[in-house]
Symmetry: C2
DNA sequence: TTGAAAGCGCTACCAT
DNA sequence: ATGGTAGCGCTTTCAA
């Protein structure tokens, strides 16, 4: 196994001292042109690369940040990650991207790994199970910049999110205006602030229009495709099934439609469905899904900016709102 | 700015030597139970984390691998990345995930960054522009294990790919059997072995059934959504437009369908379309797209295994074939 | 202009 | 059982 060439090796070959090599290689003054030439050529030939770990050790800096998402393969997160990675690279930072698998244990593991990696910053979207934030508080205590995004929490940590309550309210009003009266809410477990905010928006809208909230129409089990299927089937088998569904997470709207169609019902004629932030798939589904769209790119840019601010010593916590709006497509009835 | 606590700090506080701390913290023998207790408690209290850079420097090992894909936000790649990240973590390895943006320059930049990071292995899918492989050969020369996947090349580097030629042949035969006679080929630039293999399969199938290859029906411009749209529109405006299209990359089939529909034609009644490996979207599109499906998970597992073998010193180059098969849906006519 | 040496955090070896 | 020390690759300060 061959070893990489080091400054010391170059120095030895040329019969000079490492410090001279170091200076030459970094273009510092204090090296004769001739010697500099020789050193540079040799480095080139031997394909010299500075050992980043020696540098990290020397300066206690890693030029690396970590990103933790519940599911990298979920399209909006994938786009977000792509954006952040690009911005980070421009800023000379490397990214460690980790997937918490939407579990608390996974999230803690990711954060601990990043922490022991001595990353210079962490960007994170909470898992659907997370209610205990000590792992995040520890990061703060160790002065590692941290920004939450998308799925945030009511804690003292900077964050970027859309206006969940307001948008869920709008979505629900849109359904009511389309003639729906028995509107079901399909969300994840109540642990996420995102879910409760959206539920509040939903309830608010119902109140505004004098529609009673029916407990059996509110489903908060889990955030995955299969639970979306089974929850929808349960809703449909109620004595009085819903005439519309607000599916507030990822692919729930898609699975919901599949369930509805499998029962021989039509969307939106028999039942309207509205989704949240699942871009591509929402556009491709049949019928195209009316949904609350946000921009993973905008998310990425804003989050990275916030992180950089913190890395530059701006300590104040701030909560940024990212843009999003209801895009009306074909899965909801229009105003009659 | 507070600094993290080191073994030396612990030693100083306890009035003992670093080497004792080191032994105790790694559970080595040669430390009295009482002292070990004291050390461990202090480490716990002060939230001690070994400095990974000191360790990397000491052992010349980083426990880190790099993954380079043309587009992390493209669903099959996102799933692949998720799988590899999970396997790597199980094996105690961290992943640096990079996006080459499907450009040669981007790919070279990624590889160089990973190389200077001293990663212990690299997994890569070629950009659509890559024809020069010196950056990869340099990796090999520096004894960094490397595995190509999906988009591979005829070079001396281990790889995992589907049987492109065979599958494209099957796809084309399926169209012919459905009654198509003027079959267009929609692919990326000819630079990728993947594209040429698929084109060979396409030509083979035509020859087998005695159908002449028509040059104007073969489109090889670029691999993105918009070029799929414009290429398809060009095909449709030919004096004799095609009655079927094999779209051999990612989202080309989706954009192709959109173009066809925008011209008021029906799929598959007026024109059949077949795609390659774009899982989710293919299933959600209308009509559901007949396509060659492979498993990003299987890819991930096989690639990671190959990489581990290399990391364990197994030097022989091997080319593994991953499973894939034609899934017939609604975008192609059935046998009449 | 060049060289010598210390030190970043850790481990391994040898001495006590 | 514990201490002392060299060395991983690099930068920096001071000396020649």
């Amino acid at each position: 196994m061959k070893k990489r060439i080091s400054q010391r090796d170059i120095a030895k070959i040329l019969g000079i001292n490492v410090s001279t090599v170091s200076r030459a290689l970094r273009g510092q003054s204090g090296v004769s042109a001739a010697l500099r030439e020789k050193i540079e050529r040799l480095a080139q030939e031997q394909c010299y690369r500075p050992n980043p770990f020696a540098i990290s050790l020397r300066f206690d800096t890693t030029r690396t940040i970590g990103i933790v998402v519940p599911d990298v393969s979920f399209s909006p997160y994938a786009h977000f990650v792509k954006r952040v990675e690009a911005e980070a690279r421009k800023a000379g930072l490397l990214c460690i991207i980790m997937d918490s698998d939407d579990s608390y244990a996974g999230e803690v593991e990711c954060v601990e790994l990043l922490e022991s990696m001595h990353v210079e910053g962490v960007i994170l979207s909470l898992s659907q199970e997370t209610t205990d934030f000590t792992h995040l508080e520890r990061l703060k205590r160790n002065h590692i910049p941290l920004v939450l995004f998308d799925r945030t929490a009511d804690i003292d940590i900077s964050s970027v999110a859309i206006n969940d309550e307001q948008l869920a309210r709008q979505a629900t009003l849109h359904l009511i205006d389309g003639g729906a009266r028995r509107i079901a809410f399909l969300g994840g477990p109540n642990l996420l602030k995102q879910t409760t905010d959206r539920k509040h928006g939903y309830i608010e809208a119902l109140h505004e229009r004098g529609i009673p909230v029916r407990k059996e129409l509110v489903k908060c089990s889990s955030l995955n495709f299969n639970s979306g299927l089974s929850d929808t089937l349960e809703l449909l088998s109620l004595p009085e099934p819903p005439d519309a569904i607000v599916a507030v997470h990822g692919l729930l709207a898609v699975s919901s439609i599949q369930a509805v169609v499998s029962k021989g019902l039509r969307v939106p004629e028999d039942l309207s469905i509205i989704g949240f932030m699942s871009d591509w798939v929402s556009e491709m589904a049949t019928p195209r899904i009316t949904f609350v769209r946000h921009s993973p790119k905008e998310f990425g840019t804003k989050v990275f900016k916030l992180l950089q601010d913190q890395m530059n010593g701006h300590d104040e916590v701030c909560h940024v709102t990212a843009g999003a709006r209801l895009e009306v497509r074909e899965s909801t009835r229009k105003v009659p």
